[in-house]
């Protein structure tokens, strides 16, 4: 009897596996992960009103910083700003939409790093 084809969709795992790609793919994964952490925290916070384990709050703050900074990049680029105009590709083709927006990514990541350091220092001082 002829059997059917084998399902081969990677699934949620594909957010971080599925091939060797550039920094945008990693940013995509981190964005989804930090988004889930924030949502999870909000739900947990509504259910559980009492005091929180401090390091868990720090993680949420760090997640929030990354999510907000990368989110700024996504809002700008996903509305088509800075991704370049359609051009005739010459080969080897380097995707213009990625090359052009990468500086923005690194600038925002530098800001993230500063905020993250400040948050950790504040946390260590018992803020």
């Amino acid at each position: 009897m002829a059997k059917k084809a084998r399902p081969n969709r990677i699934g949620v795992k594909g957010w971080w596996t599925g091939g060797k790609y550039g920094v945008e793919k990693k940013a995509y994964f981190l964005h989804r992960l930090t988004g889930l952490i924030i949502v999870f925290y909000l739900i947990a916070h509504i259910i559980h009103q009492g005091p929180w384990i401090a390091w868990w709050e720090l993680i949420v703050v760090l997640a929030f910083i990354y999510h907000a900074m990368n989110g700024i990049r996504l809002i700008i680029t996903e509305l088509g700003f800075g991704v370049g105009r359609p051009t005739l590709p010459s080969f080897p083709y380097v995707p213009e939409s990625l090359v052009k927006t990468r500086p923005l990514f690194w600038i925002l990541m530098a800001f993230s790093a500063i905020y993250i350091v400040l948050a950790i220092v504040g946390f260590a001082k018992g803020g």
Partner: protein, 286 residues
């Protein structure tokens, strides 16, 4: 040293310069419960592509290996495979450029696997069809019975020409992390084509396409991972097209997008003042 002479000789020679191991993922739905890797030793000459290597395996080592190809020159879009950690066209991938002694080849992910290296592209083509990838005109009667060509300037052609190089190979679809977790997601190829047709000045179908792509499984599912653009063999840069599409839809939803009529028809030949072309001298036989 006569550098130039050596280069020409090297390019033209079919001398074996290396041996590599092909690890090919095999799966026969009639016999196997699970896919497995088969290994083959492949001699490599300069200019040999992964597709050449697979043809060598099929002809000389194991006739049961299945894969899909047609043009051998990056035009038909059939030979997409997952080669050494990335979706690539087998016919456009030089073995020596990969630089590894072992080459791992699997079928493209995110599409069902029919057999060995062959994916089932049907859902991918269905998504392409969904975005209405053709010129839509309000005057259908004129479109069905054309009296001439539509106007388009070279500048207007540039609005979309980059995206029209797509060969529907589905490499981008295999690379996209959103397509990996959402089977309903239209995917980079279809969304890029929605943009390609919507900005074509001959088209009047933008609103019809918005109904398809402005959807939870449409363009807003893309979060700019850029994997699609990285693997596209034709420089289409689908991520660019999708972000431009989102911008266009937002503009449209805010009422800022100017309504435009599709380009008019170029008057029938000859135009005034232009001499009529001579009669055809070669008559086509049936």
């Amino acid at each position: 040293m006569a550098q130039k002479e050596i280069q020409i000789k090297e390019v033209l020679s079919d001398e074996i310069v290396k041996k590599v191991k092909f690890k090919v993922k095999k799966f026969d739905p009639e016999k196997d419960d699970k896919p497995y890797y088969a290994e083959y030793d492949v001699p490599v000459w300069r200019g040999m592509t992964v597709l050449d290597g697979l043809l060598y395996v099929k002809e000389d080592l194991d006739g049961t290996v299945n894969f899909r190809y047609s043009c051998r020159m990056g035009i038909c879009g059939s030979c997409g495979m997952f080669i050494n950690g990335k979706p690539r066209m087998a016919c456009m991938t030089q073995i020596l450029e990969l630089g590894t002694d072992v080459i791992e080849i699997a079928p493209l992910p995110n599409l069902d696997n029919i057999r060995d290296l062959v994916p089932d592209s049907t859902p991918f083509f269905e998504k392409h069809r969904k975005v209405k990838p053709y010129l839509i005109r309000q005057d259908v009667k004129e479109q069905e019975n054309p009296i001439g060509e539509y106007y388009q300037t070279p500048e207007e052609h540039e609005y979309y020409s980059q995206f029209s190089f797509c060969i529907k190979c589905s490499l981008c679809y295999a690379a996209c992390p959103t397509a990996a977790s959402d089977p309903e997601y239209l995917g980079p190829q279809a969304l890029a084509q929605a943009y390609r047709y919507s900005v074509d000045t001959r088209d009047e179908g933008f609103e019809e396409r918005v109904m398809v792509v402005d959807d939870p499984h449409g363009c807003w599912r893309c979060h700019y991972a850029g994997a699609c653009s990285e693997v596209c063999p034709k420089g289409v840069d689908p991520a660019k097209a999708i972000q431009l599409l989102k911008g266009l839809i937002l503009k449209y939803r805010l009422g800022l997008k100017k309504k435009r009529k599709g380009a008019g028809v170029i008057p029938a030949h000859p135009r005034p003042g232009v001499k009529k072309a001579p009669k055809r001298t070669v008559v086509q036989e049936d």
